[in-house]
C-alpha cells in the first residue's frame, strides 16, 4: 500500500518535478518567467497535437458512421493525415479580396485564436496543474470566451462581401443567444461551491457518498440539468453541428469564412477546436468533478489522466452528436435558446437555491429533498418542451 502510494505521488507530481528539473537552476526572478513560458509551451503543444488528432478522429468516426473508411492513405491508418493537411494549408495561396480591409482581414483569425488559447490558462488540468490560479477564474474564462464574438464580426466585415457580413450577423445572433443559457447554467455551481476559482470548485466536489459514489455536481438534480444545458449551449457556442448554421458548408459555403483561404482558414478551424476543447474542459471542471477519480480505488491513477479522459469523452460526444442530428433552422435555433434553454436555466437557479437551503435535511427529509429537486427539474422540462413542440408531432421519414 505504502509503495503504491509513493508511486502515485511521484506520478502525480511528475509534471512539477520535470519542470523543476528544467528550471530549478535558474535564479528566482527568472524562474517564474521561464516556468510561465514553459507552461504556455506545454499547453500549446499538447492542445495543438490534440487538435490535429481530433480532426483525424472526427473524420474517421464520421466515416465509419457513414459506412466509409475515412482518410486512410497518409501513413498507417491515416495517422499522418493531420500533418499532410497542415502542409496543404500552409502552402495554399492566401487570397485576400480586393476591397477587403486588409488589416482586419488579417487580425480576425489571429484575435480569435489568441482569445481561445487564453481560456486554457485557468483550466485545472490536474491536482497541481493550473497555469494561472485566479480568484475569479471562471469569470476570466467566460470573459475571454465572450471576446471571440468580436473576431467573428471582424471576419465577416473585413471580407467586403455582403454574404459574409450577413452570415457574420447570423453567427453573432446565435453566439449572443446561446451565451445566456451558457452563463446561467453554471451560476448554480458557483452558488453551491461559493467560489469563482476553478481549483476551489474542483475541491468542493471531492469526497464520496456511501463510500463510493463521487460527489460531483452532475450527480445532483440541479447539476444534471445545468450540465445538460451547458453542453447544449457549448455545442452552439463552438459552432458545432446541429448548431453549425454560421458556417453550414453545404448551404452557406462557410458563412463568414467564405473569403478566407489557406492558413488563415486553418487558423479559424484551429480556434474552433480549441474553443470546443476549452468548453469541454470547463464542463469537466464545473460539473464532472474536474481531475478527480470516479471511484475511490481508482485514485492511484494520476489526476491529469482523469481530466484528459473526461475531456476526451465529452469531445467524442460532440463528434457523435455531429454525425447523428440534422442541422436546425435559424428560427428553430433562436427559439430553442430563448424559449427553452433560458427559462429552464432560470428555473434551475431556483432549484439550486432550494437545494442549498435544505442542505441540513437528513433521513426521510433527504429523500423528500431529492424528490422535490427532481420534480423541479423534470416538470418544467416536460411542460415547456410540450408547449413548444405542440402541433409538431413526431415526424415519420419515409425514405430515410
Amino acid at each position: 500500500m505504502n509503495a503504491a502510494f509513493l508511486a502515485t505521488l511521484s506520478l502525480e507530481l511528475l509534471p512539477a518535478q520535470l519542470r523543476d528539473m528544467v528550471t530549478g537552476w535558474l535564479p528566482e526572478p527568472w524562474r517564474w518567467l521561464v516556468n510561465s513560458i514553459l507552461a504556455i509551451a506545454v499547453i500549446l503543444a499538447s492542445f495543438g497535437l490534440l487538435f490535429a488528432y481530433l480532426t483525424l478522429a472526427e473524420r474517421k468516426i464520421l466515416g465509419r458512421v457513414q459506412n466509409r473508411p475515412g482518410p486512410n492513405r497518409t501513413g498507417y491508418f491515416g495517422l499522418l493525415q493531420p500533418f499532410a493537411d497542415g502542409v496543404k494549408a500552409l502552402t495554399k495561396e492566401d487570397i485576400v479580396p480586393r476591397g477587403a480591409d486588409h488589416l482586419l482581414h488579417f487580425l480576425a483569425p489571429v484575435a480569435l485564436l489568441a482569445f481561445s488559447i487564453m481560456t486554457f490558462a485557468v483550466l485545472p488540468f490536474g491536482r497541481n496543474l493550473v497555469a494561472v490560479e485566479l480568484d475569479a477564474g471562471v469569470l476570466y474564462f467566460f470573459a475571454a470566451g465572450a471576446a471571440t464574438e468580436l473576431a467573428v464580426f471582424m471576419a465577416g466585415w473585413a471580407s467586403h462581401n455582403k454574404y459574409s457580413l450577413l452570415a457574420a450577423m447570423r453567427a453573432l445572433a446565435q453566439l449572443i443567444s446561446y451565451e445566456l443559457p451558457l452563463l446561467l447554467s453554471f451560476v448554480p455551481v458557483i452558488m453551491i461551491a461559493g467560489s469563482l476559482s476553478t481549483q476551489e470548485i474542483v475541491h468542493r466536489q471531492s469526497g464520496w457518498m456511501f463510500g463510493f459514489v463521487p460527489q460531483w455536481h452532475v450527480l445532483t438534480p440541479w447539476g444534471f440539468a445545468g450540465f445538460a444545458i451547458f453542453m447544449t449551449a457549448a455545442l452552439a457556442e463552438s459552432n458545432r453541428s446541429p448548431f453549425d448554421l454560421p458556417e453550414a458548408e453545404s448551404e452557406l459555403i462557410a458563412g463568414h469564412l467564405t473569403e478566407y483561404s489557406g492558413f488563415k482558414y486553418a487558423l479559424f478551424f484551429m480556434a474552433e477546436y480549441f474553443g470546443m476543447c476549452a468548453l469541454c474542459g470547463m464542463a469537466v471542471t464545473l460539473f464532472l468533478g474536474g481531475w478527480q477519480a470516479p471511484l475511490p480505488f481508482l485514485e492511484f491513477i494520476p489526476s491529469y489522466v482523469w481530466f484528459a479522459t473526461k475531456m476526451l469523452t465529452l469531445l467524442l460526444g460532440f463528434i457523435w452528436v455531429r454525425c447523428t442530428f440534422p442541422r436546425l433552422r435559424i428560427d428553430q435555433l433562436t427559439r430553442f435558446a430563448w424559449k427553452f434553454l433560458v427559462p429552464l436555466a432560470l428555473i434551475n437557479l431556483g432549484t439550486t437555491a432550494f437545494w442549498s437551503l435544505t442542505s441540513g435535511w437528513t433521513g426521510g427529509l433527504q429523500i423528500a429533498r431529492w424528490l422535490v429537486a427532481i420534480a423541479l427539474v423534470v416538470i418544467p422540462f416536460q411542460l415547456i418542451g410540450r408547449k413548444l413542440s405542440a402541433g409538431l408531432g413526431p415526424r415519420t421519414y419515409r425514405y430515410a
Partner: protein
C-alpha cells in the same frame, strides 16, 4: 511597474483619440473596444481582478456587439461606412472646450496635495469579500441595478422594435 502603467495609459488614450478622429465608423468602434480592453488592463494592473474581467465581459463582449449592430443597422448602403466630415467650426469649438477642460483638470491634479496612501501593502479584495459587500451593505443598490437592467432590456426592445402598422409605410 510604473512603466507598465505608462504603456497601458499611452496605448489606451492613443486608441481613444484615434477612434474619435477616424472617419470610418467600424474602425472607430473596434478601436474603442481595444480602448475598453486597455482600461481592463489598467484595472488588472491596479489589482482589481474582478472589475477587470467584468469590464472585459460587459464592454468587449456585450456593449461592443450592440454598438457594431447599431452601426450596421443605421447605414444606408452597406458600402458607405464613411461619414461626411463634420463642420470645422464644431470641431474647433470642441477642441477648445476639451482643451480647456483638460487644462483645468491637469492643473487641479498637479497642484493639489493629495494625501499619499500610507504606503502599506496593496489593498486586495477577494471575490468573496466583494460578494459579501454586494449582498450586505450594498444590497439595496444591487436590487435597484437589477430593476434598472430589467427595465432597460424591456425598454430597449420596445423602442427598437418595429410596429407593424408603420413598417409597411417605412418600406415604401
Amino acid at each position: 511597474m510604473t512603466l507598465a502603467f505608462l504603456a497601458i495609459a499611452f496605448v489606451t488614450v492613443a486608441a481613444a483619440a484615434v477612434a474619435m478622429a477616424l472617419r470610418n465608423l467600424i474602425h472607430s468602434a473596434l478601436l474603442l473596444v481595444f480602448n475598453w480592453a486597455g482600461i481592463a488592463a489598467f484595472y488588472l494592473w491596479a489589482g482589481a481582478e474582478f472589475v477587470a474581467f467584468s469590464q472585459l465581459m460587459v464592454y468587449v463582449g456585450a456593449v461592443s456587439m450592440v454598438v457594431l449592430f447599431a452601426v450596421l443597422l443605421t447605414q444606408r448602403s452597406p458600402q458607405s461606412f464613411r461619414e461626411q466630415p463634420d463642420s470645422i467650426s464644431r470641431v474647433i469649438g470642441a477642441l477648445l472646450v476639451g482643451g480647456a477642460v483638460l487644462g483645468v483638470l491637469f492643473g487641479a491634479v498637479l497642484s493639489s496635495r493629495l494625501a499619499p496612501s500610507a504606503a502599506t501593502a496593496t489593498p486586495t479584495i477577494s471575490v468573496k469579500e466583494l460578494g459579501s459587500l454586494l449582498m450586505g451593505p450594498h444590497a439595496a443598490a444591487l436590487l435597484i441595478v437589477g430593476v434598472i437592467l430589467t427595465v432597460t432590456l424591456i425598454g430597449a426592445v420596445i423602442i427598437a422594435s418595429t410596429d407593424h402598422a408603420e413598417s409597411g409605410k417605412d418600406e415604401s
